[in-house]
């Protein structure tokens, strides 16, 4: 059991990385990966929301959706969006420091495709409560890893001599392609088990 959970975590984190393999959460990956410090905060906020989402999705899947499967998408998005809103208010009240650190990222990532993607993948694969939790944790850590890697490369590339044609998004995409290529090397990890 423990081993299986570990492989779910590792699989979501590096082997099938959310951003570099499934293309989930590309908006923050492109948008807020210019500085390492913001990338880390964005990653932390993502881990947090993903964990909440996983619990929500498990609850909906177990208690509500067997009776109304066609409401799956609508209920996922409504429940996740409102819960994040509530959590944001609670954090603001309880821990202003944490609120300042996560700040605007919390509401932003509610509409991030990684969140809904996690809920749907978890449902399609039939994960239970613990498995879903580890999947969310791995996915969030993987997102953070990809964000921080990208931010480090972009910080370094700022002083590099880049052809004017490639400046901006084209460079980011080609670097992301190389990163994705590198992460494909981890594919051997899962098949080894």
């Amino acid at each position: 059991m423990m081993g299986e959970l570990f492989w779910i975590l590792l699989g979501a984190m590096v082997v099938n990385n959310f951003t570099l393999y499934y293309f989930l959460g590309l908006c923050p990956f492109m948008g807020v990966s210019a500085r390492i410090s913001t990338a880390i905060r964005m990653g932390a906020a993502n881990i947090f929301v993903l964990t909440i989402t996983s619990i929500c999705a498990w609850f909906l899947n177990t208690f509500v959706l067997p009776y109304a499967p066609y409401l799956r998408l609508i209920s996922f998005i409504v429940v996740i969006a409102s819960l994040v809103q509530i959590v944001e208010m609670v954090i603001k009240k309880v821990s202003p420091a944490l609120f300042r650190a996560l700040g605007i990222y919390l509401p932003l990532i509610t509409t991030n495709c990684a969140i809904l993607g996690l809920a749907i993948f978890q449902t399609n694969r039939g994960y239970g409560f613990l498995e879903g939790l580890f999947f969310a944790l791995g996915g969030g850590l993987g997102l953070t890893l990809a964000l921080v890697l990208m931010a480090s490369i972009r910080e370094a590339s700022e002083v590099a001599d880049i052809p004017s044609l490639a400046k901006g998004m084209a460079l980011v995409l080609i670097v992301a392609g190389s990163l994705s290529l590198a992460f494909m090397g981890f594919a051997g990890l899962l098949s080894a088990t």
């Binding site: 989930l24 590309l26 998408l73 809904l116 044609l165 490639a166 392609g177 190389s178 290529l181």
Partner: protein, 219 residues
């Protein structure tokens, strides 16, 4: 609110403000499911349907949607159409539906659709919103097929299932895999940047005689 003509509303989204290639919206489906032309077309048409339907509804109800909860309302409308598209695809083309997997459901969080509702459909009459949705939707399909064409030809040696290079071609598998998505879009952007730069340079040359006259006058 800037005044635009119906022609502008329609043609703007197709190329000049293409959602994927220029505005960089809706990247998740544009990269994830474009490994073959067939999948790209299916995803493009599904998104086109959702975009048109949501624009129509949002524009119809724009006077009754309260400003404070407009985003949630848009999302709900979009999610309804996505559910319809999801079930429709499953019924009409089950194999393609299987290949697209979770990404059909993920049309809900395609920021391109939400941005058209927020920026256009929520403020304009029905006819204009539909024109805008048609234009943007066609632009999205074009961008997806541009991605899918390159990736299928290089990654599989085929186009829409028909062999392009004959049997002696060794498929460049990486283009059908995730890294190929990033690289293909990156190279498309490079090519478009090059065209844009060339156009700007030519415009400069055209303006040059005036510049000479001004320089002479100043001297």
């Amino acid at each position: 609110m800037k005044q635009t003509t119906p022609q502008q509303d329609f043609f703007r989204g197709i190329w000049r403000e293409n959602p994927v290639l220029i505005q960089m919206l809706g990247l998740c489906p544009a990269l994830a499911v474009t490994n073959t032309v067939e999948n790209s077309l299916a995803m493009g048409i599904a998104t086109f349907f959702v975009l048109t339907g949501s624009s129509l509804l949002v524009s119809l109800f724009r006077r009754w949607i309260p400003n404070e909860v407009r985003i949630s309302t848009f999302i709900l409308i979009i999610a309804t159409f996505v559910t319809v598209a999801d079930m429709g695809l499953e019924a009409i083309v089950p194999t393609v539906h299987k290949a697209l997997g979770a990404f059909v459901a993920l049309i809900v969080v395609n920021c391109m659709i939400l941005s058209r509702q927020e920026a256009f459909a929520a403020k304009r009459p029905v006819g204009r919103s539909l024109l805008d949705a048609f234009g943007t939707g066609i632009g999205f399909v074009i961008a997806l097929v541009m991605m899918g064409g390159v990736r299928e030809v290089l990654g599989n040696g085929t186009f829409l299932g028909f062999s392009v290079f004959g049997s002696r071609f060794e498929p460049w598998v990486i283009f059908a895999l995730p890294p190929g998505g990033f690289l293909t879009l990156g190279f498309w952007l490079l090519i478009l940047n090059w065209f844009e730069k060339r156009r700007a340079d030519r415009a400069k040359v055209r303006d040059w005689p005036d510049g000479v006259a001004e320089a002479r006058a100043a001297a």
